[in-house]
């Protein structure tokens, strides 16, 4: 058993799919590094206006050539590796949450499954609390008007990024961790439920479409129509028109 597992692991490591994954990772990192280096050097070597058309074309299109070169290399590498992959690539299996939902309908709940369910709830609780704690400080920053009093917009954006981005990235990392842990707990529950599968013979009862959905839709249509008409009357339409017919120089990066 262990020998076949080891053999399967070795085959997985040596398979072209694995090389492809590593290839993607390394090429993405290399490409990003090249782009960042190129753009930084473009900036450091003279980014002060006035640009002329010739200078701008030369400086701005140089990352595009690197990108094209790397993409051609990657396409060739992909073709090369594909020739050596055996058979068709296996489709992704349904994720653990999906398989669990399917099992729950057919299996009788037992103690081990309940335990796993409690673990999942605890995970969600801890994750939720941690997310709320991490969100508190950036929220307080964003809702404090004094942080947006400066007309030095570059500094304002930089300060906002400094105060908000680390927390946003931390929340994303926490969410990733939560998803991975939830997958593991789901696999535990699946393993616990599998022995007690009891296939039901009767079909699933069709769910009645709630009248609530229709009510919500009608209410939203009425609200949308009211807001639109109100906006036409209070001058919002003219605002949209005036902004749309004027070239927003900053929106397109000129300025």
């Amino acid at each position: 058993m262990k020998k076949t597992e080891a053999e399967a692991r070795r085959r997985r490591l040596l398979s072209s799919e694995n090389y492809k994954s590593w290839g993607v990772l390394i090429s993405v990192l290399a490409l990003l590094a090249l782009l960042i280096f190129n753009c930084l050097s473009m900036y450091l070597s003279g980014n002060t206006p006035p640009f002329t058309r010739e200078i701008a074309l030369k400086k701005l299109f140089s990352p595009a050539w690197i990108l094209l070169f790397v993409l051609v290399l990657l396409a060739l590498a992909d073709r090369f590796l594909s020739r050596y992959s055996k058979g068709r690539p296996q489709p992704l299996l349904p994720n653990a949450a999906y398989r669990l939902a399917m099992l729950r309908e057919r299996a009788v709940v037992n103690e081990a499954a309940l335990k796993a369910e409690k673990k999942a709830r605890l995970l969600y609780l801890i994750s939720g609390l941690a997310t709320a704690l991490l969100s508190a400080r950036p929220l307080l920053y964003l809702l404090d008007r004094s942080n947006f009093a400066s007309w030095d917009l570059e500094n304002m954006i930089w300060d906002t990024a400094k105060h908000v981005l680390p927390y946003a990235l931390a929340i994303i990392a926490l969410t990733v961790l939560t998803f991975y842990l939830k997958d593991a707990i789901d696999e535990e529950e699946i393993a616990a439920l599998k022995p007690s599968v009891n296939i039901k013979s009767e079909g699933e009862q069709p769910r009645k479409k709630g009248a609530l959905l229709a009510v919500v839709r009608i209410a939203l249509i009425v609200l949308g129509a009211f807001l639109t008409v109100h906006g036409i009357i209070n001058g919002g339409l003219r605002d949209v028109f005036v902004k749309a017919i004027a070239i927003c120089s900053e929106c397109i990066g000129l300025g």
């Binding site: 993607v24 090429s27 002329t52 919002g236 949209v240």
Partner: protein
């Protein structure tokens, strides 16, 4: 019961619909020919997808840009028009717009077609998909709202991130030779946005719809309507065996078909073994998996050719109609209604041989403009003998508002030696007099009531524009772009010395 699956041409049809939408939103061909944007009535309408309204071909407003500007003006009026439009779009289509009607979505999918190894979805991508909500909250809602208290319009997402603006707006305008002078406006902001654009497009090669999944605030808004949208992919619960093939096949970070990450591309319809998934508008089925039928059953009868071609013909008729209306009908009307001022009166100049015009070295055309907040008018010919600085601005123009303090400071320092006036555009959203009451500027403000004054200096809707005229009435500087205090002081010194600036139209 054996089932027969037939190959579907649905992916190609969806690409055609996306292409049609891109052409429909950008059918103002004259914009690409002239290097300017469409300024007709059709721009009162927001298009459903992400399409910059500074694109030369754009005939409609961008919903995201319009929303940010509406929130930026929310201290004066509730942004109900844009909210109402987005609500109606979201309710009717939801994220079907992302999958079928967004030009940026089409571009991302075309980038993804390049044959390179691809990054598959995972828990990491699923977590990253929530980042677009943070961008929506911070850059689209909070920052414009905070700056609305200071009457400073700041569409933060458009200004710092939006790749559609960089690609369609900037590159679309700069590609035309008539906009060669706009290159002088490029700086750090453009470099950053260009890097973001290139990074996004490069990421899309490896990651399916990277911008759509992780960064697009408009997608975040439409995703809120996933449960109530009328048109989209629906699952028939009794037929669904929860095999999970639809979720596995989907390239977006969905947990189930039709959730907030689903763009309703309908590619899962063909992989469902029981045909439980269909594309519906309410209770009307627009597309189901017709290939899934019992063995021995005859294929459905082909529709008569009239019915098959009715919808494409109607779509082409709409496109053709809009094309003709925007490019020919409205343009002809605009040409006929433009007041041709054949008798431009030049400001007196010591050198009568100089032509009158808008370029550096020419005599400036005389004009009169009513003052804002005071009685009287500002007349250019009354200012001969001293240099004149004219700043064209508007309350809705962020760089204009940011540079007014510099003009005020230069005016205060040189009040006895120069004349200065800040002329507001004829396109008014907020009352300039009410806007100026919050500030204690000393320089005079005037109103360009018809748009003729900026037109006489070869200006258009792009702001801010600064014109410097020397004491003899000769233009020494005329260019679009933001001013700094040092640059403005330098220009004033040059005009006082009687020399011409190198940087001009």
């Amino acid at each position: 019961m054996d089932k027969i699956k037939t190959k579907s041409r649905a992916p190609l049809k969806r690409k055609l619909v996306q292409l049609y939408a891109a052409l429909l939103y950008n059918c103002y061909a004259r914009g690409f020919i002239k290097g300017d944007i469409y300024t007709g009535k059709a721009k009162i309408a927001c298009v459903p997808g992400l399409n910059c309204y500074s694109c030369p071909g754009a005939i409609g407003a961008c919903p995201l840009g319009a929303l940010q500007n509406a929130i930026a003006s929310s201290d004066k009026r509730m942004p109900s028009y844009v909210l109402g439009i987005i609500l109606l779009y979201g309710l009717l289509l939801g994220r079907t717009i992302c999958g079928w009607l967004c030009p940026m979505g089409l571009l991302q999918e075309l980038c993804h077609l390049l044959p390179t190894p691809k990054l598959k979805k995972s828990n990491v991508t699923r977590a990253l998909s929530y980042f677009k909500y943070a961008l929506l909250f911070v850059l689209v809602i909070i920052i414009p709202r905070m700056y609305s208290y200071q009457s400073l319009p700041l569409p933060a997402f458009c200004k710092y991130i939006c790749p559609a603006g960089t690609l369609e707006g900037a590159l679309g305008l700069l590609a035309h030779p008539a906009n060669a002078d706009k290159f002088s406006m490029l700086g750090l902001l453009f470099t950053r946005k260009y890097i973001i654009l290139v990074t996004i497009l490069a990421s899309c090669v490896f990651i399916y719809r990277a911008f759509c999944r992780f960064l697009c605030p408009l997608g975040a808004i439409y995703s809120l309507f996933s449960r109530v949208a009328v048109i989209g992919v629906k699952v028939d619960a009794p037929s669904c065996t929860k095999c999970g093939r639809c979720v596995s096949h989907c390239k977006m970070d969905v947990k189930r078909v039709g959730d907030h990450e689903c763009i309703h591309c309908a590619s899962c319809i063909d992989v469902c073994p029981t045909g439980a998934i269909s594309f519906k508008a309410g209770s009307i089925t627009l597309r189901a998996n017709e290939g899934v039928r019992p063995a021995g059953e005859n294929p459905p009868a082909k529709k008569p050719s009239f019915r098959r071609w009715a919808i494409p013909a109607a779509m082409l008729a709409v496109l053709a109609g809009l094309f003709v209306y925007t490019n020919f009908f409205e343009s002809v009307k605009a040409d006929n209604s433009t007041v041709k001022n054949e008798s431009i009166v030049p400001v007196y100049s010591a050198d009568d041989t100089l032509p009158t015009g808008s370029e550096v070295g020419m005599r400036a055309a005389d004009f009169s403009a009513p003052l804002i907040g005071k009685n009287g008018t500002f007349t250019l010919s009354d200012c001969l003998g001293k240099p004149v600085v004219i700043n064209f601005w508007a309350t809705w123009c962020t760089p204009c508002c940011l540079e007014l303090p510099y003009f005020d400071r230069v005016y205060a320092e040189n009040m006895c030696e120069i004349y200065m006036v800040a002329v507001h555009s004829n396109l008014v959203t907020d009352d300039p007099e009410a806007y100026l009451k919050d500030y204690s500027y000393s320089l005079p403000f005037a109103m360009d009531e018809t748009g003729g004054i900026i037109a006489s200096f070869n200006g258009s809707t792009i702001l801010p524009r600064t014109v410097v005229i020397d004491k003899n009435g000769v233009i020494t500087y005329n260019a679009v772009g933001s001013m700094t205090y040092d640059k403005l002081s330098g220009l004033v010194e040059e005009a006082r010395g009687g020399r011409q600036s190198d940087t001009a139209d």
